[in-house]
Subunit: 197 residues, 4 copies
DNA sequence: CATGAATGAGTATTCATTCAT
DNA sequence: CATGAATGAATACTCATTCAT
């Protein structure tokens, strides 16, 4: 079942895109409650009322934005994942895609990070997180059975890997020091050593 | 040197404490913009106007709260740190204190995490972060010179350690699975292996 | 003299009719300010913009609707009125036509009733009321001279008759009890006794 | 069970009164949907936000206003009603009190008239109407058993009497002709003859 | 000092109207 | 001519802050 590529009616996909992009910027820099709808409208170059032709409410907007990006991230991370490769190679793939997503969609990365478990996200939005976690757990358990990852709670391993990645990019953006290829590799190797057997 | 029991004038330290505690709870669960001053007042058991006798504005309140806890965390983490111990022992101390802080002050941990880089934090509040980071860098460089930590950017190592810790406690609180002593030890060991030589 | 079948340009009389009918329904059930133009458009089965090809504004629409129905009511009530009949017979005719109008055009009756003196009605709309009243006064004075109606202010008599009719149909619609032939006759006889000498 | 004379807390009864009075004026002249909350605030001489300390919403305000006046009208009409008097005397009392209420509280009379069955009135508000109607029916049936009123549906008689009164005052206010004592008496006598046996 | 009633600037949202297609 | 997407002014309502008590 392909996702509906167009909003209902003949509303302009461009405008919808502009609104989503503007709100991504603003939600990241000011937060959900700190962002006003007219601000979003202005940055998107549309009238304030137009927002409501595309999204029923500010809450709907943030939820659609979340689902759009969470879905896109899931696709990037998981599509044609090397299921049968050794754990180190799988980890390399995983890390590389994470880096890719972060580099290509930095704002979206922070948006997903910040809005992780906000109370204005609805059930559907939250379910996406669970699906990705379940996927990760299955993979880790496979690798653990092959004695390629530490035999501890997969949840712990997931937390460590994602947390380490986030911690690294956060420190980098806090300090303003850009991450070059060496830094990415160093961080990858460190994180791998955290979880390998 | 005992702390001044009655800061400015004859305002009650109890009321100040109550306001800080109430706002900690609410800022964590609803965010800064999602929390109203009257809500804070009610939960603190004081009148709404009273808040303004202790804090010049909502922004001042969140900044003082941030600094209070950031300072307290720094004290807990760094006081009488075993400067001359081997890196593994230093790491054990560091990790243990982080766990201690998280367990004793869970709300404060999340508050500091969430408000990390919010735009309503002022320069003074942000400077605290820098001071802790500088302290960490110095330590790490010492250990690196003794060939006890990987010879890579200390910022990366800090990001990995703090990130891994945060990732672990976040996954735990998301899934509702409590972290027992074994889990803490597993996570510590993983993280150590990420940074050790 | 047949009415112009195609008023201004080549706009469709059907669409105009549909818009008037839809707005009648909505103005009666939700009031003027409680009714939105897009609602009217949807119920009329036309585009929202189309409304503005037939009526310059929402106010124009309500005024034209008012005048249409006030005029139609006047025609039904007064056409070939038995000028020379005795007052009782005239009253019977008048009452019967009022009943007929109410039964055939219930929504329009309530619309005229509700919008009687609304501030969005313009002078032209209000003038129609005056013309009907003047007509009624003349009739009543005639009958009074023939000593067939009470010799009191015609305005009072008009108010009593129209008020009694309205009061009866209002109570009936409030309670949901339908008015049968007997009820109409009873009400007519009561009202006649109110004004006869 | 006496009605709560004061709103909860220590809000000023004067301000509440001012808001109710201002909204009475405006709801009568512009209707519910045509009246804005800031308009009410300005006319009441309070801040817009203040309205919401006294009434949860615009709907709550109109409902409380309705109940206040419907209750007051009921009290004026029914208190110490001459239960055992002959029907003509009862009618005289009833009519006189209606006149009194209209003269003393003209705005309130029109407010009750206009908002009779508006869809923003809640169940509690509507129930008051039913109670007064039931009271009237009981009275009429008593008088009918004593053969002092026409033996027709009490609902019809109520509709005629209230309608005639309303019709008279409406015509008077439309034409701007004031109702003097003679006019009130004439109208009373007419209406009595409508319902007497 | 403490309070909470009062406020008005600010927010999300609606809707009459316009105009490009 | 008909349409409905787009708009922005207007509206109900909220909330940080003030100040009289």
């Amino acid at each position: 079942m392909p996702l509906d590529p167009l909003p209902r009616g003949s509303l302009s996909p461009d405008k919808r895109e502009a609104i989503l992009e503007a709100s991504l910027d603003l939600f990241v820099s000011r937060g959900f409650h700190g962002t006003t709808v007219p601000e979003v409208a202005e940055r998107a170059g549309v009238g304030a009322g137009t927002i409501y032709r595309y999204f029923a409410s500010k809450e709907t907007l943030v939820n659609e934005l979340y689902r759009d990006w969470k879905g896109q991230m899931a696709r990037i991370m998981l599509d044609r994942f090397p299921i049968d490769a050794p754990a180190r190679e799988q980890f390399h793939t995983f890390w590389g895609r994470l880096v890719q997503f972060f580099v290509d969609h930095t704002k979206a990365f922070w948006f997903l990070e910040i809005h992780h478990h906000a109370d204005y996200l609805d059930e559907r939005s939250r379910a996406l997180e669970q699906r990705m976690t379940d996927f990760g757990i299955a993979f880790i358990q496979g690798a653990q059975q092959r004695h390629q990852l530490k035999p501890i709670s997969p949840l712990l391993l997931i937390g460590i890997v994602l947390g380490a990645f986030t911690g690294v990019v956060r420190k980098a953006s806090e300090t303003g020091i850009p991450l070059d290829a060496d830094a990415w590799n160093d961080a990858e190797q460190c994180t791998w050593e955290a979880i390998r057997i």
